[in-house]
Symmetry: C2
Subunit: 291 residues, 2 copies
DNA sequence: ACATTTATCTGACTTAGGTCAGGTAAATGA
DNA sequence: TCATTTACCTGACCTAAGTCAGATAAATGT
């Protein structure tokens, strides 16, 4: 017996619509109408092109224009014509605008902190919130190339190692494994891809090349909160496309049979099991795919 | 290494504010302004007293009055003076109003269903949504007395039995345990309390009396989605209050040491371990509390 | 060179939502 | 009984948000 899924979804909707306004009221906390606050915050987050902001916030061009004027009158922003195209305008925060934006950020952070402190064990709640956020925003996941030493990449890798340590019977120690040199996962030899959702890294994959026409897939990882969304498949497909761009002809990878879901993914994507091709202590299964 | 909790909360807020409008647009789907739709739905859900609706939706009395007039003009509701107090008014759906309300319900159900069907394995997502909803609405949890044969009570009991079956090494079979007769958990002998959150049962406890001044606490259960909110403690406190009302002087309970968190709860609430007082095969630890 | 397209702005207008100061009629308390 | 309180209604007014039809000026295609 289980409670009706539709009721559960609707209950979530009710809870969220009833409470989320209270959860983050930072946009209303500084005596400015919501519209103006949203524009100010979009600019503060780095959006500069007026058309881009309008598009992002879904505003009519007339309304947008008026909101920009009101922020200008407050002395919070300045707009200048785009040097490449004088019809377009670029909006930037002034000094006062920047400190006003930071006040909004501080408000929002404080509210998030207060929310967390109302919960005695926030870790499980946070995990649940991650799952919901990933699922709701699944269509906004973007894959980006990153240097493997970039903080986003390093976050993914450390989570990946931690997971291997949990799942392998004998644990996992990076230093025992052939950790690919960062150089070999940067163009022109290879690439390192990170899946980003709302500025948070939630998955990665590395293509490790040696300059020849054979390359290896390494470090495929998807955050627990984002599993079941087909992200691993998407990362693998993107890595394959990158491999073709780099004129790779043969892809290889090694894996461990403890990672059952991975093996299934490879087989379905047309990978074929081959003999061991390295003496790394952790993998016990080896695959190849000709492009 | 773990991602900053504040960023995670803010990411959830962004995801939810961006998507939840799209998640349930049923209130906007029938060409009526949001305010009127909300009032119609409040009445459809059984709210009748005008003041109660106004309070529930947080509306100004002038606005409320106008919304009621517009719904009346549409022929969806009828208002009559309260027979006990002719100043107050009672709002009820007309025939057309009822079918309009049901159209909203159908829309909302269809959207929830569509949302579920977009997810390949919705069970984990639903679990996460339950956790978030329970936590956000924790202050709205109410404890209500229910007949143990009421569907809400039976839902809780079947979940409780299923959990015992999972957690006990040898499983759990209700028929082997001394299942208290429903009569003994109804006043004046005892009570059965269910914790309700937004119409969904999320916990229960039974007070089983025999007519004398000794009674037993049975069937204490909290839904996994609602743990960590202090609900078990609250249920126990409510059961104690009910026991005092029924002139019970000694409370007893049995538990199994596999349920570690329960034992701690009892000790902290002033219960004292005593000798075995029944020959039920499942419990191995026994407690008593004098009121 | 010139018609067309594009990005933004301006003015006129609409709707939803909400506030506030009375007004009416019923209920209540001294 | 009668002043006071209470529940709801009405009219006047306000703001935020959004729509729409041009206007303006820069860029673009032929």
């Amino acid at each position: 017996m289980s409670y009706d899924p539709i009721s559960r979804v609707r209950r979530f909707n009710r809870a969220v619509t009833a409470e989320v306004g209270a959860l983050d009221t930072s946009f209303l906390g500084r005596g400015r109408p919501l519209g103006a606050a949203r524009v100010l915050n979009a600019i503060g987050q780095g959006q500069a092109d007026v058309a881009a902001i309008r598009d992002y916030l879904g505003l009519d061009s007339g309304l947008m224009s008026r909101l920009l004027r009101s922020l200008e009158e407050e002395g919070l922003i300045a707009t200048i014509p785009n040097p490449q195209d004088a019809r377009r305008r670029i909006a930037k925060l002034t000094e006062t605008g920047r400190s006003e934006f930071e006040a909004y950020e501080a408000l929002s952070n404080a509210q998030a902190k207060a929310f967390l402190s109302r919960n005695s064990q926030p870790e499980e709640l946070l995990r649940a919130m991650d799952i919901v956020a990933s699922s709701l925003r699944r269509d906004h996941i973007v894959l980006e190339e990153r240097d493997p030493r970039h903080p986003d990449a390093r976050y993914c890798l450390s989570e990946y190692y931690a997971e291997l340590a949990r799942r392998f019977e004998k644990g996992f120690d990076v230093s025992l494994s052939r950790d690919p040199d960062a150089r070999e996962m940067i163009r022109p030899r290879g690439v390192f891809l990170v899946a980003i959702l709302d500025a948070m890294p939630i998955g990665c994959v590395g293509l490790k090349g040696s300059g020849g026409d054979v390359a290896e897939i390494k470090r495929l990882w998807v955050a627990p909160s984002s599993r079941g969304l087909g992200l691993a498949k998407r990362l693998m497909a993107a890595a394959e496309i990158a491999a073709r761009e780099l004129s790779i002809e043969v892809l290889r990878l090694d894996t461990n049979s403890a990672l059952t879901e991975a093996e299934q993914l490879y087989r379905r994507a047309g990978w074929i099991e081959i003999d061991r091709f390295n003496d790394d202590p952790y993998p016990d299964t080896f695959f190849e795919k000709r492009l």
